[in-house]
Symmetry: T
Amino acid sequence: MNTILLLHGPNLNLLGTREPHVYGSTTLVDINAKVITMGKERGVEVVPFQSNHEGALIDKLHEARSWAAGVVFNPGAYTHTSIALRDAITSTGLPVVEVHLSNIHAREEFRHKSMLAPVCVGQISGFGWRSYLLGLEAILGVIEVKS
Amino acid sequence: MNTILLLHGPNLNLLGTREPHVYGSTTLVDINAKVITMGKERGVEVVPFQSNHEGALIDKLHEARSWAAGVVFNPGAYTHTSIALRDAITSTGLPVVEVHLSNIHAREEFRHKSMLAPVCVGQISGFGWRSYLLGLEAILGVIEVKS
Amino acid sequence: MNTILLLHGPNLNLLGTREPHVYGSTTLVDINAKVITMGKERGVEVVPFQSNHEGALIDKLHEARSWAAGVVFNPGAYTHTSIALRDAITSTGLPVVEVHLSNIHAREEFRHKSMLAPVCVGQISGFGWRSYLLGLEAILGVIEVKS
Amino acid sequence: MNTILLLHGPNLNLLGTREPHVYGSTTLVDINAKVITMGKERGVEVVPFQSNHEGALIDKLHEARSWAAGVVFNPGAYTHTSIALRDAITSTGLPVVEVHLSNIHAREEFRHKSMLAPVCVGQISGFGWRSYLLGLEAILGVIEVKS
Amino acid sequence: MNTILLLHGPNLNLLGTREPHVYGSTTLVDINAKVITMGKERGVEVVPFQSNHEGALIDKLHEARSWAAGVVFNPGAYTHTSIALRDAITSTGLPVVEVHLSNIHAREEFRHKSMLAPVCVGQISGFGWRSYLLGLEAILGVIEVKS
Amino acid sequence: MNTILLLHGPNLNLLGTREPHVYGSTTLVDINAKVITMGKERGVEVVPFQSNHEGALIDKLHEARSWAAGVVFNPGAYTHTSIALRDAITSTGLPVVEVHLSNIHAREEFRHKSMLAPVCVGQISGFGWRSYLLGLEAILGVIEVKS
Amino acid sequence: MNTILLLHGPNLNLLGTREPHVYGSTTLVDINAKVITMGKERGVEVVPFQSNHEGALIDKLHEARSWAAGVVFNPGAYTHTSIALRDAITSTGLPVVEVHLSNIHAREEFRHKSMLAPVCVGQISGFGWRSYLLGLEAILGVIEVKS
Amino acid sequence: MNTILLLHGPNLNLLGTREPHVYGSTTLVDINAKVITMGKERGVEVVPFQSNHEGALIDKLHEARSWAAGVVFNPGAYTHTSIALRDAITSTGLPVVEVHLSNIHAREEFRHKSMLAPVCVGQISGFGWRSYLLGLEAILGVIEVKS
Amino acid sequence: MNTILLLHGPNLNLLGTREPHVYGSTTLVDINAKVITMGKERGVEVVPFQSNHEGALIDKLHEARSWAAGVVFNPGAYTHTSIALRDAITSTGLPVVEVHLSNIHAREEFRHKSMLAPVCVGQISGFGWRSYLLGLEAILGVIEVKS
Amino acid sequence: MNTILLLHGPNLNLLGTREPHVYGSTTLVDINAKVITMGKERGVEVVPFQSNHEGALIDKLHEARSWAAGVVFNPGAYTHTSIALRDAITSTGLPVVEVHLSNIHAREEFRHKSMLAPVCVGQISGFGWRSYLLGLEAILGVIEVKS
Amino acid sequence: MNTILLLHGPNLNLLGTREPHVYGSTTLVDINAKVITMGKERGVEVVPFQSNHEGALIDKLHEARSWAAGVVFNPGAYTHTSIALRDAITSTGLPVVEVHLSNIHAREEFRHKSMLAPVCVGQISGFGWRSYLLGLEAILGVIEVKS
Amino acid sequence: MNTILLLHGPNLNLLGTREPHVYGSTTLVDINAKVITMGKERGVEVVPFQSNHEGALIDKLHEARSWAAGVVFNPGAYTHTSIALRDAITSTGLPVVEVHLSNIHAREEFRHKSMLAPVCVGQISGFGWRSYLLGLEAILGVIEVKS
């Protein structure tokens, strides 16, 4: 059975308590549950991980090389600044789908550019917690194509 | 029963014959069939339309105000230049999901910026014909939330 | 009797139904009526035309060379992107007054620059439907100077 | 009876003697007379003031809060540089119509951007002394809407 | 016998009547005649087409896939803005030579950049109607190399 | 006893009447009183001065060389444009603390940059009338270090 | 009794040993002591924390939601690059005062821009260890206003 | 006998007391004396004027139209920002030589660009008080050519 | 009989040995022969010259004033940087056609801009050695028009 | 005996497994061994450390103040973004040589700029694992000069 | 007796024959004669040198170290591009006065910036051949100050 | 036995006499001797060449194709401007190591960018004359890998 890493970047642990007019009131625990459930229905195991530390996210991506078939990744604010995460994605060779709760292209100018998107399979942004489910759907399509 | 406008911009009529290493070999007819089929399974009618004319795409969006509940839109090259289409989306008040076959953020610099994304619900890019199915999934979620 | 072309660009056909907090609730039919009426009072015929197609606007400008003494033009979104309309204005040699319902200089950055203004006689922006009446007033002054 | 402040910025006192190929040969006295006359016809008093001093223009705007219903303002060269005048307009709360003799959008690049336009009701540029009459017409429309 | 599409963009229908100090007094009919004649001498059929509509130019390029061996294209103002035409050229796979009557590199800054040149075989600009004859010469060289 | 110049730039005379959602409802007279009172408690005389004239502010800074030990300066809109005030600060050799009522870094882009900050001791922005008291506190610390 | 988080970013642990011509010779322990002492005098508890890890600073801000009334924050080099800290400040909803020892506006260009300032109450920069005392003063004013 | 206006901009009244490592220790009185003396030797009257007020400098340029044959102008900090002075120079039609004590091209980036130079006869910068004598020499050459 | 200078810039002496996938395998000797032959057929003498020294190319252009009727010039890498060659072309008054083997608009960004094109009659780029023959054709058309 | 810190930034732990066409197949263990061996031959101890955490790299630089004579540092992706590491280098006062396996100046635009280079002794980039040996050689030269 | 190097850059050998509306009709021989004559009157020998070769100008500056007391240099087009000449001036340690016939600040944008001015004593531009005499005057003042 | 070209760009002939605080007091003769000696120890012949002429450096690179196995090149000021040298390196196909005495990344902004680095094997900068020895070491490693 394939395993998918569900990776969450900085401040996403506060989800549901944080700016609900932008991100909605669903918590990270809720989202993880939704994605794990959908994963079960689709026959894959989903392993969630969140950290506010750029280095910890890199470490987790490195570690996942040995057990994950793909990654659904919401890099939060590191989306726009982290070349190190970009290199981590390239290094691991894992297919990564970038997801965002809010429509980053409709927010501040500095959130329009993603340093990670060019090395991801694709990007999904703007659909709240549904972005994660769409992301899982997308990574499953990618894995199916490859296998 | 809800109706969804499936709108395709310039050059997408050549799909499948055009740069298959970038866009794959599926034709527009194939994609329309896939989306219509999925629409039937989900209880919505999907009405496809393609044009190479910016004005015709605007006209179609205007027209759809009276019969569509939402739009899945691949604006092709007009994504990056058309303020007129942006205003058309705002004017109609219809929820629009922007989709792209290729990962526009991984291509030439001038394809990174979308003039339309800030007025769309969200953007999905990089998953080939699956981008359209994810787009339909996404617009259904949006309509469900609103109704 | 002089004839004035009253030219409207993309999405202006939706006027009155479109973002009333920005553009007011007057429809395009209302505006045309007001301008035609004022034209009659001032002894000129006003011929209105609207299209969402950049090419159709160019065609109309070309055609007007043979019968119009001047143009009042709200180019809508094409204001900011169309070098082709700019060249059309230069080619026809007709005096053109650029008008805008909203104050384009107070909106998004990309609406501050007009590609057409440098080849128009002048620009009037920000006075709602009154912008059109001021535009007619202005073009009459221009024609008077020339004749 | 409403009173309108007719405000002129730097170098406009030389009008008629200055670069007639750009600004025409009408003097500032002529223009003031024209606008005052039109004001009388329309039932408003027009009070003209000119200064080359940015501070004096700010002082006058402040003073006008107590007696003016609106302002027709040709800020001259301060259009492009003065944040202080911009703040003065915002502070007074008076409706201001920005006017220019020449078409500033057809001149040097640094004259295309107005620091004041975003806080004015609208902008009229390019019609010589007629710009002032159009400006008076415009401010009367604005006042009418408000009262 | 090979056939060459001779494609003309916006406002070129006014040629000869438009800014003769920039473009000369030869009409589009004259130019088409010259190119057709030279084509006959060189054993190729030349099929001219002009439109002010970006979409119509795209449609024609698509259509020409089935009968043209190459294209001589003066995209006019769309040269500088149209990603859709760029994609159309890439999609058709036809060799295209970009030609301009005037030296675009000697005109306004915004005319220096061509969105199309990177996907054309080459660019010829500045030689009036002779640019078209040089363009035909050039496309014949390209076809010869390929066949 | 040390004397401190309390210098206010353009439009600050309208304080309390001007955009209270941005600047609060305290008037300039109130602020001057608060700072003078605090000055008395701390054993320094505070001399306030306001002008809308850039030149008058420069003149005052020059004059203060002979009697002030330091300056608390809210340059208002001149913050972002005045090289002349910058040179005036450098010329006088007086220590200057730049203060702002609102958080200039959270407002329009053009208010983020201060032409004066690089030649001031430091900058305090965003605390309403308290910015002035913090500014007095700061300049006293600076003077203490120097003496 | 209110509690204030006194947060220090990267390299500030070396204070007093590091570039004394820029930052002075006071150590971080000295500064903490000064701020705690002043806090006692003003009836608030001050809890200091320093880390070189961006993630640890985010974690601490999150944690402080449950016990702090406000934050005095010297983000050091992360000031200019960290969108993640910016989001952390927004997420926690705590009032934050940004402080800097040196005048960041007088140093290298890349230190002029703060990514955090737009979401802080205000910014104080350039007064050495006094910046922290002014920061405490400022946050107390903010809390007083809110309570 | 020709008269030359010797115009000095902001802060130049402090000359000799201001940053001597940049501007030398000669005072403005000294410089005026030197230029007047040289003027006498060359048969022209030199009339000096200094102001920190941009408006006063404009007023003086306007006034000089009736009595001056040319201007030697050190605009100080207004060099880099004042479009109003630029327009004043154009309006008066007087030949102006721009002079600077220091080499403005060797100082901060924002001092490299002169808004006035394009409308002056020429620019002399970097020779201390000698710049003024060279400027007088230059304006005499210009007048000689014209007369 | 007219004489044409055929001028080649830096590194073109290595042609045929240099990056054949970009420039083809024809040598400079081959190209010179082709152009000379075509010149003979058209009744003009073609005089080739190549140098890697910018100064030598300038010297040659100066010298050619006395004997050449026009220039076909491939400036190589100096195309993008040399204002001195630009001035040389302007100084000599000779008509110059700029040619390039490769399509410079399809290569690195820094090769898109030509410093010389604005002072040349026109530019031909992208047709390999045929660019030179087209260039000769073009300069002959130019000379014919002038004579 | 001198000790050298051999510091490796993010993702370098994957070396040899990561994009071998860019970085070669040598692992980090191999490189450390090579540098330690060369260090022994040259009479210095080399202490390697790698982390994906920016904060951990800063901590290590701080710690090394007490025992290292110099640093050979490959900052990986943090090269281009980390002002915090830049400040850490300045704070410690240790001489640092920046090394890169690949030629960063030949890769993506955003890798051309190093935030660290201006505070390092020098930079060596492009020689694979040899870059480290050259870096050790270089730091030994620097230490020799200082001692 | 002091000797002054009078150095002329590219294309200045054509002076008098080149664009007289910009540069006048005086030849380089005329200018050299004027400067030499004025030199004699002032007791210095003037040695002129012109080259179109950047390298030859550098060589001459190097050589002049042994015999020249200063340099009057019109670098022509190399003004705007040559870092090598900038380094040559720094290397020689000779005082250099930069002169230009035309007012470079009133010409094309790319002529506004001088790469050399920051390392010259000063710059004189816009006075035709008089610029050279003013340049000699200026360098004599510089030498006098130093000796 | 392999031969290495040791190439020096403009102004390096003055080394040791030029700005010793930046470049040290070692002369070019000294450096050549050091590199030749090290070459002998390593079994390669080192052939030095210096010129201030860009063209002469290109000529030498061309010539070296027939006898050199690699190049150690300090391009001096041409580093930042010469596309012609870049093309020369590409044309010759020789491996080139770019070296700099000073740390170019720590100097003026315009020295940070190298036009040559992208086509060199790598870059070494900042170690004084040791940069050359490191450069020789580096080129030997490169040749060893290739042979």
